[in-house]
């Protein structure tokens, strides 16, 4: 017992010296909820508030709170508040955008990219099964979509263009404004999965020609269990969930008011603190990337560099090791990170995003992803720069 605690403290020595207990660099996987958000949510969980549809004063208050959250979320990307449809997850919002719009559209063709989130990818596959045409536009070596390729992919029967604002796996920002201009000129609605990008890069729906936008609460340090699809006034969808007609009939079911109110507060905080936070995080991210590239021989960044990627996002390939072994070793040393793709982790298959940027199977298995957030500080970054090179040297020595 004594020995195990001694060895454990030796193992965690550098972290203890830095005054760091747990190094959490998986904000894209889950972001701790901001205490200021929790404080506003609490009364909505504890009572004194009704169902937004209830015919009494507590219901009226709930409805006001719901509409307040709608306005706060819409303000983050400059959309009309009435266009916000609250859902439980961004996956649900993406499904509603793609399948809901396709079901109402006369066209039977969708244009998307090779680096989308699995929810967009699988919604497109479902459309393919129903007989829709799906064109997946390839990306360059940084994972960037060429707007001209989108222009070439649009057909007379194209019902929707759906391209993410930023790939969650490799952090590359997409040319949303250019794609939006093309889609607008061709009269095709444009959906943007903005989950990773919102609040981190400028994204105003009118300037960028966006007609549908997916947002997630937890990516704003709001609670999980709330997300939103925003739609421009003239867009019509077929609902995927039928019932009492909540959320303009597009998403029936009693609203998760505490989480939605929390998402609204989180959106407000991101709007007011965003620019300073983005500068802080991109400096920390650069420190991490520079430190790892210098410390780990052969490592290289996936996705775009610098301003071309999400400011809180670092992803690397480390040849000669498997990501799951590295992540386990990091975890032993108190560092939480990810490989970038939960789906690929489950199946052991190389992720579609890494394949799209030209990684072979062995390279794709060596992908690491670090996502920083509101509580990330320099000492945590230095812990990773300190421990990762040792881990990699050891694992490479063990490798056959």
């Amino acid at each position: 017992m004594a020995r195990s605690s001694a060895s454990s403290s030796a193992r965690h020595g550098s972290r203890a010296a830095a005054g760091v207990s747990r190094v959490y660099l998986d904000y894209a996987g889950f972001s701790p909820v901001d205490p200021r958000v929790l404080a506003v949510m609490r009364p909505f969980l504890e009572g004194g508030i009704g169902n937004p549809a209830a015919p009494h004063s507590l219901g009226f208050e709930a409805r006001d709170s719901l509409d307040g959250a709608r306005a706060k979320v819409a303000r983050l990307f400059g959309g009309a508040p009435a266009g916000v449809i609250f859902t439980a997850t961004a996956t649900e919002a993406n499904n509603l955008a793609l399948r809901g719009l396709a079901a109402r559209a006369s066209g039977r063709h969708v244009v998307t990219s090779a680096v989308e989130h699995i929810s967009v990818l699988n919604a497109c596959r479902e459309l393919e099964k129903q007989g829709y045409g799906v064109t997946s536009v390839p990306v360059d070596a940084d994972g960037r979509v060429d707007p001209d390729a989108v222009a070439r992919a649009i057909r007379r029967d194209t019902a929707l263009v759906s391209v993410t604002a930023a790939s969650g796996e490799i952090g590359t920002l997409q040319p949303v404004r250019e794609i939006g201009r093309i889609a607008r000129a061709r009269g095709v609605p444009f959906h943007v999965d903005a989950v990773g990008a919102l609040g981190r890069v400028p994204l105003a729906v009118d300037e960028c020609g966006v007609d549908l936008l997916t947002a997630s609460s937890n990516d704003l340090c709001g609670p999980p269990g709330a997300a939103a699809l925003w739609i421009r006034g003239e867009i019509k969808l077929a609902p995927l969930t039928l019932g009492g007609g909540q959320e303009g009939g597009y998403r029936s079911g009693t609203e998760n008011l505490p989480a939605i109110v929390g998402m609204g507060v989180a959106a407000d905080l991101v709007r007011s603190e965003g620019p300073a936070e983005v500068a802080r995080l991109s400096a920390l991210r650069d420190r991490l990337v520079d430190g790892l590239l210098a410390g780990v021989a052969g490592s290289r960044v996936t996705g775009a560099r610098g301003a071309g990627r999400l400011p809180h996002h670092a992803s690397l390939l480390i040849p000669g090791v498997k990501a799951d072994a590295v992540l386990m070793e990091l975890d032993f040393r108190g560092v939480s990170a990810s490989s970038g793709s939960a789906c690929a982790t489950l199946t052991g298959q190389p992720s579609h995003v890494l394949r799209a940027i030209g990684c072979d199977d062995a390279m794709a298995e060596s992908s690491l992803c670090f996502t920083l957030g509101r509580w990330t500080r320099a000492p945590e970054i230095d812990v990773v720069i300190d421990v990762l090179p040792t881990i990699i040297t050891r694992l490479r020595r063990l490798a056959p």
């Binding site: 699995i118 990818l121 699988n122 596959r125 479902e126 393919e128 099964k129 789906c343 489950l346 199946t347 052991g348 298959q349 190389p350 199977d361």
Partner: protein, 79 residues
């Protein structure tokens, strides 16, 4: 010989990646080396996924047939 019924059948119709591969992997775990699994899937991506997965794991992809939207994969467990 090839027409002999498979040792197990796994119906993944209606499911999407990663489920067909995950379920195939789980089912194969409980089978003996040399046994054959028939997996049915209507995920448009499952053809590429199964080719890649069997290539990686070394299991033998004996045949791929397509009946309408449904793929029928026949895989032999090799290890």
């Amino acid at each position: 010989m090839l027409d002999a019924p498979p040792d197990q059948v796994l119906d993944c119709v209606g499911l999407f990646c990663p489920m067909p591969i995950l379920k195939t992997r789980e089912t194969m775990k409980g089978m003996a080396v040399g046994q054959r699994l028939e997996m049915l899937s209507d995920d448009p991506a499952s053809e590429a996924d199964m080719k890649s997965w069997t290539g990686r794991t070394g299991h033998e992809l004996l045949s791929i047939e397509r009946h309408g939207a449904v793929f029928r994969f026949l895989v032999r467990k090799t290890r």
